[in-house]
Every structure is written in structure tokens, then in C-alpha cells.
């Protein structure tokens, strides 16, 4: 028997908690068939039946579904996700960019959706090329995408076509670079940001 450091009662409670957790994970099949996965399958099925050719890929990790969509179709898929009465992904929780630093499809935009009705989360992804990275805007679907897209434009230089007011969010307007790109040095480009004279 291993020596216990704490009191006996505490050890018992902890052991009971661990047993409950093990039962939850291994016996009840928590990682295989959760309610979350049932919704995932349903969402993917609906999207595939409606936009079969627009689903480039789907990946499920720990119950979270990620769907890759070509950038030409992203707006109509988003609109369907929001306006379909059953899915009702009415909240754009986040919109962010990613720099894969690959020769093709270098930049990506990621849409994290949340449904207040079903309390479910879905992630959409779309990719664009390094030269002239352009993605259509989804400000017409969710108004909150306005500032998110401005931030993504500021940090990655992804141009959102049709955006009503695509200005920089954080960096000064005259700044020429996009700091979260992988080829941007951490300390910045010397002389690119001017300071007032002493």
C-alpha cells in the first residue's frame, strides 16, 4: 500500500472521482459517440447534400468538426449555416487568419461558428494563395465580421473583397507590413515605424 500524504477522506474522494472519470471516458464511450458528434454528422450531412462539391474536406478532432470550403463558396455556405432554421449558427464567435507558409494555399481564414439554439460549435476554413490573397467578406452575413476581418487584414494582409471599411486595426495606417506573417521578423523592420523627435 502506498503511503498517503493527505487525510484518508481526501484520498477516498479523489479515488472516487478518478473512477467516475475513467468510467465516463472508457465505458460510456465518451470519445466515440457523444451528442456533439451526432450533431456534427448531421451538419456535415446537410452541407454535403446541399453543397456537395463545395466541401473540400472535413476533419473531426475530439468532437470538433472542421470543414474546408473553397473561398468562392464561403459566403453562401456561411449564409446557409446562419439562416437555416435547424442549424442556426447565428454567432460568429471568431474569425482569424493563419499563415501556413506553404508554396500554395499559404494563407487561410478560419471561421468559428456557434449556434445559440443547439449550443454547438463548427469551424470553417478557407485558403488563398500567397500572391494577391483575396477572400470574399462575410460582413453581409454576420456584422461582427467587420472588425475581425480588419484585424486579419492588418496582421496577415488578406484582402476581404467587398468589405465596407477595410482599414488597419492595430498598426499605424502608413505601416507597410503585416506582422503575423511568418516571414516578418519579431523585432520588426528597422525604420518602418517612425518615432517623434526627441
Amino acid at each position: 500500500m502506498s503511503p498517503s500524504r493527505g487525510g484518508g477522506a481526501y484520498e477516498e474522494i479523489r479515488e472516487a472521482e478518478l473512477q467516475q472519470l475513467r468510467r465516463h471516458i472508457y465505458e460510456e464511450g465518451w470519445s466515440n459517440s457523444s451528442p456533439m458528434q451526432a450533431i456534427n454528422e448531421k451538419v456535415l450531412g446537410m452541407l454535403k447534400s446541399k453543397y456537395g462539391d463545395a466541401i473540400l474536406g472535413a476533419n473531426e478532432f475530439r468532437g470538433e468538426l472542421t470543414i474546408v470550403v473553397p473561398k468562392e463558396r464561403i459566403v453562401e455556405v456561411c449564409r446557409f449555416m446562419k439562416e437555416d432554421g435547424e442549424l442556426a449558427f447565428d454567432l460568429l464567435a471568431d474569425l482569424c487568419g493563419i499563415d501556413m507558409y506553404t508554396p500554395e494555399n499559404r494563407f487561410g481564414v478560419i471561421y468559428n461558428l456557434y449556434s445559440l439554439k443547439t449550443k454547438h460549435r463548427i469551424r470553417l476554413k478557407t485558403f488563398t494563395e500567397e500572391e494577391n490573397p483575396k477572400v470574399p467578406t462575410v460582413t453581409g452575413v454576420w456584422g461582427t465580421a467587420n472588425w475581425h476581418e480588419r484585424e486579419t487584414y492588418d496582421m496577415f494582409g488578406i484582402i476581404f473583397e467587398g468589405h465596407p471599411d477595410l482599414r488597419r486595426m492595430y498598426m499605424p495606417d502608413e505601416f507597410e507590413y503585416h506582422p503575423l506573417r511568418k516571414d516578418f521578423p519579431l523585432m520588426g523592420i528597422p525604420g518602418s515605424l517612425d518615432l517623434p523627435k526627441k
Binding site: 492595430y170 498598426m171 499605424p172 521578423p185 520588426g188 523592420i189 518615432l195 517623434p196 523627435k197 526627441k198
Partner: protein, 176 residues
């Protein structure tokens, strides 16, 4: 002023400047340039527990026209530097600057493209305060050091003073 006839000849100090400096040092109006978390400690210094009023500096003015000393409390980005400098330029002479905290003095932990690595790159700093954030005591210590400078008639970042544990190498960097 007529005082001589009342107090007798040769009683009043001949250097008026010393008297003016004594007045100035005991009524420094701070410009609370609270940019980030150091501002919380600055507010604590102004509160009743630490009570910056003991040193005659309780009158935090939110217009630069009425201020003598700017307490720059927080991370200064390149975008904010222009604003800080503009507010400094609007303050009437003579004026002093306290760089409060690690970020303000040297960029601190933000060794990155957007943060100015020390506000002495665009402002004459009179007192640097170490700490992340500095305790209110340290800010009061800085104010007392600044009062000594004011009494000596020093201004515009001449011979900056240091509060707290600044390493020698760092000192050389910020002074130079």
C-alpha cells in the same frame, strides 16, 4: 515687497530661484499618462493608503496645460508614442517626466515589433522606476527623487535618477 522694512535689512534670501524651486517641488501637478497596468499602481499611490498628497502631488490633472510632471505608466507602443509626445509638448515649461515601470523604461517583457524599447527614445526622462509594475512606494520614491532634482533646478532629462533594481548594463543602455 515691503517685507524688508518689516523684518529688517538683509533677511530675505537673495536667490529668488531657490524659493521658486521650493514652491515648485512641493506642488508638482502630475499628468497621469496611464497607458496600461502600471496605471493601477499609480492610482493606488494617489489613494488614501499611500497618499501622494503627502508630497503635494495629489492634483492629477487630465489636461496637459495644467501639469508639471508626466507619469508615463505603461507599455508605450509606436502608435501611442505620437500621442504621448503630443501631450508632453502641450505641457507648459518647466516639465518633467517619470518613466514608471519596466515597459516604459526599456520595453520590458514586450521585446517585439510594436513596442518602443524605452520612452527615452522620444522623451527626456528624469526618473526611471523599475518594477512590473512598481509598488506605489517606488513611485513615491521616484517623486521624492524628482523633488530633489526640481530643488536643484534640473530639468529635461539631465542626469536621470533610478528607482529600484536597475542593472548596470541596463543603466548604461538607457542613459546612452
Amino acid at each position: 515687497m515691503g517685507l524688508e522694512s518689516w523684518m529688517g535689512d538683509g533677511y530675505i534670501a537673495t536667490k529668488l530661484e531657490d524659493v521658486i524651486n521650493w514652491c515648485r517641488k512641493n506642488s508638482l501637478y502630475p499628468m497621469p499618462m496611464g497607458i496600461s497596468c502600471c496605471a493601477i499602481e499609480m492610482m493606488a499611490a494617489a489613494g488614501p493608503r499611500f497618499d501622494i498628497a503627502r508630497f503635494g502631488s495629489e492634483v492629477m490633472r487630465f489636461t496637459p496645460r495644467q501639469c508639471d510632471v508626466m507619469i508615463v505608466a505603461g507599455t508605450t507602443t509606436f502608435k501611442m508614442a505620437k500621442v504621448v509626445r503630443k501631450i508632453y509638448d502641450q505641457m507648459p515649461e518647466p516639465k518633467w517626466v517619470i518613466a514608471m515601470g519596466a515597459c516604459t523604461s526599456s520595453g520590458g517583457m514586450y521585446r517585439t515589433y510594436s513596442v518602443v524599447q524605452g520612452i527615452d527614445q522620444f522623451l527626456p526622462v528624469d526618473v526611471y522606476v523599475a518594477g512590473c509594475p512598481p509598488r506605489p512606494d517606488n513611485l513615491l520614491n521616484a517623486l521624492m527623487l524628482l523633488q530633489q532634482k526640481v530643488q536643484r533646478g534640473e530639468c529635461k532629462g539631465t542626469a536621470p535618477a533610478y528607482v529600484g533594481d536597475f542593472r548596470r548594463s541596463h543603466q548604461a543602455k538607457t542613459v546612452g
